[in-house]
């Protein structure tokens, strides 16, 4: 069984970088929402960074699950709760004992995207986090199938998530209040989708340095 040290390194890198985007995410969320996604993200990042030292010796799936429950406890906004559920779902993704890293990553991400679609009752094109997460999951799956190295898989995922987030700028929103405010939000990316893209960008950059 894989231990969580690789996951924890990635977690630290992503959580550290995401905190720099607090105000940007607040601003994007404020266009049609309540302007607090950056606060949720910084609370969640602080929470998982505090948790990180206790995760390293755990099995990888257990570490992922614990991240989910911690975020659910400490940053339970809509976006935070959906991400928490997604992490918990990822932790349950079936993985044979020595599945290679990229295969595992693809399985986690597919489970995560599936959870968000299910729990959030959304489809691609609804202008949510899913619009960045699903393409990233697909890119990792494709890289895994093609036998690519983790670094290029991470780059591909980051590019796909970024393109997905950009595309939300022209999508009419379907969920929540935003559904009635399509015009006001027009031209602005969905905050949750941008968050996902920033997370994948951070992950990719951390791979490059390591």
């Amino acid at each position: 069984m894989t231990d969580a040290s690789g996951f924890v390194d990635l977690l630290r890198a992503v959580a550290t970088r995401l905190q720099d985007h607090r105000d940007e995410l607040n601003r994007l969320d404020g266009v049609a929402g309540d302007g607090d996604l950056g606060l949720t993200v910084s609370t969640a990042c602080r929470a998982v960074l505090e948790l990180a030292p206790t995760l390293e010796s755990l099995p990888e799936a257990e570490a992922i699950r614990k991240c989910g429950t911690e975020i659910a406890r400490r940053a339970p906004s809509t976006g935070g709760t959906l991400i928490a559920f997604a992490l918990m779902a990822a932790a349950k993704a079936p993985a044979a004992p020595d599945t290679p890293p990229l295969e595992r990553a693809a399985a986690y991400l597919e489970a995560a995207a599936g959870s968000i679609a299910l729990r959030g009752q959304v489809e691609p094109g609804d202008r949510t986090m899913l619009d960045a997460l699903r393409p990233a999951a697909e890119a990792v799956r494709a890289a895994a199938d093609a036998g690519a190295d983790p670094g290029s898989a991470a780059r591909a995922a980051a590019l796909a998530a970024d393109a997905g987030a950009r595309a939300t700028a022209t999508m009419p929103a379907k969920v929540g209040r935003a559904g009635w405010l399509a015009d006001r939000a027009a031209g602005n990316e969905d905050a949750g989708a941008r968050l996902i893209a920033l997370a994948f960008a951070a992950a990719s950059r951390s791979r490059e340095r390591s």
């Binding site: 105000d23 607040n26 404020g30 266009v31 049609a32 929402g33 309540d34 302007g35 607090d36 950056g38 606060l39 949720t40 609370t43 659910a72 406890r73 400490r74 940053a75 339970p76 906004s77 809509t78 976006g79 935070g80 709760t81 959906l82 559920f85 729990r119 959030g120 969920v175 929540g176 209040r177 935003a178 559904g179 009635w180 405010l181 006001r184």
Partner: protein, 331 residues
């Protein structure tokens, strides 16, 4: 940020410390982010739990008390509480007669309350859920179930709380509260933004001389932005949207709530009510009782909302029943 606080980070926890210090005889705190009646669980009574983000006092915990609700889970400013805290509240108020979850329709709150309900069911606690979804500006009539809950939740707490206090069963409390919810509509205007302490900057910009019509309780943009209108014009716009939506009809009897969002003086709320009362009179709608003040706020946002609830004999007597919490007393 002109606020009285020590540090944005423990804002909610320090607020709860203060509330508990001030009202220890009436409230207790089973976990850091859960507040229940000091005497919870009340034997044989249906328990009523609520919860949601902070920044809306007296919503949510301000309605915890006699004749109203039993407990509230407390989130960060404008953010859902955790399902853990909801479960704490549920356990602390459950006397075996079942628990009603009564809260506003927001994504994070729903996800977490639904999870808490599942966990409560594992404990053998029967949970039913009713969502406040009274904001007519938050979605068109054909998507009414997607509407957000705003100040109208006060009427739902009052009805559900009085019914539960009278010894009604869970099914009975649910039935009458659903009838109340079906007849409740709200719409508001915002005249200024507010600042989430941890964010430090206003949630949006609103130029002087402008107002936002239909703004959400968190500062979510409304249906449109336009020049600041007179009290008469604002009353006309709000009543027109509300009356047409149910619709309320000539001869209906209603309860009215004119709610201040935070910074708007009570003087202005009464000027607004003056206009509303005239319009309702002209429309042949009878006003049974009026509540004017701050019942559901958005920190220091300026503005007001108007809520109507259509009454029948049972709802009227439930609204009139006495209640007592540290934030709301009705004799």
């Amino acid at each position: 940020m002109q606020k009285i606080l020590n540090d944005p980070e423990p804002f909610v926890d320090e607020m709860l410390d203060g509330i508990l210090a001030a009202h220890a005889g009436q409230l207790r705190r089973p976990s850091a982010r859960a507040i229940v009646r000091a005497d919870a669980p009340v034997g044989g009574k249906v328990g009523i739990a609520t919860g949601g983000g902070s920044g809306h006092l007296p919503v949510f915990m301000g309605y915890v008390g006699r004749g109203l609700i039993d407990g509230a889970a407390i989130g960060n400013v404008f953010a859902s509480p955790s399902s853990d805290d909801m479960l704490e509240v549920t356990r602390a108020i459950s006397s075996g007669a079942g628990v009603l979850y009564l809260y506003g329709n927001y994504g994070g709150d729903r996800l977490n309350f639904d999870l808490a309900a599942e966990l409560a069911a594992d404990d053998g606690i029967e949970v039913r859920t009713i969502l406040g979804a009274d904001d007519v500006a938050s979605a068109p009539p054909e998507r009414a179930s997607a509407r957000r809950g705003i100040a109208g939740i006060f009427f739902l707490y009052k009805v559900a709380g009085a019914a539960a206090a009278s010894g009604a069963s869970l099914a009975e409390v649910v039935a009458v509260t659903e009838r109340a919810a079906a007849g409740t509509r709200t719409m508001g205007v915002a005249l200024s933004p507010c600042t989430i302490p941890a964010a430090g900057v206003p949630t949006f910009e609103l130029p002087v001389g402008q107002m936002e019509i239909g703004m959400g309780i968190h500062g979510e943009p409304g249906v449109r932005r336009g020049p600041l209108e007179t009290a008469d014009e604002i009353a006309r716009e709000l009543t027109a949207a509300i009356l047409a939506d149910l619709p309320y009809r000539r001869g209906d009897e209603v309860g009215v709530l004119v709610n201040g969002l935070g910074a708007t003086p009570r003087e202005e709320l009464y000027i607004l009510y003056r206009s509303v009362a005239r319009i309702l009179g002209n429309e042949g709608i009878r006003v049974h009782r009026v509540w004017v003040g701050e019942y559901a706020t958005s920190l220091e946002m300026a503005g007001a909302s108007l809520t109507l609830i259509r009454l029948d004999d049972e709802l009227r007597s439930l609204l009139d029943a006495p209640a007592e919490t540290p934030f709301f007393v009705q004799a």
